[in-house]
Symmetry: C2
């Protein structure tokens, strides 16, 4: 399949590589920054442009992988009639394309993309939505390059999934950061926590998180909770987070 | 070495097995429940008792692995003079033994113990504290059965470490639980999040959590944050947690 990538960030980069590895052709990269477009195009060995009206007209599908809050404005810039338009983001309905073209969809890979880290694409579930059978077929075909698992879900489900992912990924990562800040006050390295972090994640691969909850909140150990809150007196924001999460665990272990 | 285990819970069980595998002898298990003492003793093929005054007098070391808030009361029950007493918990100073015997210490393995799950002991760091050189030597020797890594730390450091571990383990697990609850409202399985959970943990094995933070809070995507908060309207406690963690990430990404 011939694909145009619109965007040059982490998602565009990783998807572009995965589609190429799956035997598809990236014909062009568009970015409003000529330098960024050219940089990713060089990596993918394809053409690039920073002009919307120079976007290649005959691709099988156009992947819009730009920031969520810029998509609507971007789509309105141009007449996409006759093209299959797809965005890759969690928080927008596929209807953002409704007034621009007849065929469109969403291709949402559930993973956290970072420049610093190469992903194992095959383990990333892909969630798709489409308004025509042809679009669905194209998206399913492309999903195979990224994942063993493809799901068809609605916009409401995608939004719910994203909110859940914010807890399981963004907030979890922030808890690691908080742990690292706390350790530093005592001259301890973040390294000492790594086996525990790994085990915490590994455990829920096979067991229900509710069933393996441990800790002072779970066993209602108020003395230890008080000691920890005292210890966090120089981190009022962390103290609040500690209290709220403790109360939430206590409520559920009643 | 001859070891008496005081307690029959997850920590006593896992440590008992690890010490045996390391070539040491568990001479006896004590628990105030005769049934629990006998059950673990059977597993470890050793004696058991539920009477404090029947505890074997000539062990090299006595491991007190009972609930944090029961240790002080337990220690006062008996005269431990002449014995090396060690507890395994995060939140108490070693001084709980001060009025009972001359030699004592702490042996704190940083891991979350569950009956449901076999641990890979070699990756668990052990944190020790002791008031005599002889005790330190014994604890270092025993730590080898559990871990490649042993650290000597103070009570204050141990308490800080524990608070950090509560964030990285107990609270993280609770976030997984919240994510699972949210998914359920939309008919989605927790399974779809597992690759993301694994990647989130794997990432900080080599990269600094602050450097790999992503998500709506990090990129100040207020529209998406608002959509998520609306979605959580039936979970006011989760809404509060979402808001606090979002604010905390926003503060740090300024």
């Amino acid at each position: 399949m011939k694909i145009v990538l619109i965007g040059s960030g982490n998602v565009a980069t990783d998807l572009g590589k995965a589609f190429q590895n799956g035997g598809h052709e990236i014909v062009q990269v568009y970015s409003n920054s000529a330098a960024n477009a050219s940089k990713l195009a060089k990596e993918l060995k394809c053409e690039s442009t920073h002009k919307v009206d120079m976007i290649y007209p005959k691709a099988d599908v156009y992947f819009v992988a730009i920031k969520d809050d810029m998509i609507e404005t971007f789509v309105k810039k141009f007449n996409w009639a006759g093209r299959i338009m797809v965005h890759t983001c969690a928080s927008l309905p596929m209807d953002v394309f409704k007034n621009s073209t007849k065929e469109y969809g969403v291709f949402y890979p559930l993973q956290s993309f970072n420049k610093e880290r190469k992903l194992n694409m095959s383990t990333i579930p892909v969630f798709i939505e489409s308004n025509t059978t042809k679009t669905k077929k194209i998206l399913k075909e492309l999903a195979k390059c990224v994942s063993d698992k493809t799901y068809e879900i609605t916009y409401e489900q995608r939004l719910t999934l994203h909110a859940a992912a914010v807890f399981a990924n963004n907030f979890t990562n922030h808890l690691y950061k908080i742990a690292s800040d706390i350790l530093r006050t005592s001259g301890l390295e973040f390294d000492v926590l790594k086996p525990l972090i790994k085990e915490t994640a590994d455990k829920v691969m096979t067991l229900d998180p509710a069933a393996v909850q441990t800790g002072p909140a779970q066993r209602k150990d108020v003395k230890t909770i008080k000691k920890h809150l005292d210890l966090l007196k120089n981190f009022p924001a962390y103290q609040n987070i500690y209290e709220q999460l403790t109360e939430s665990i206590e409520r559920q272990s009643r």
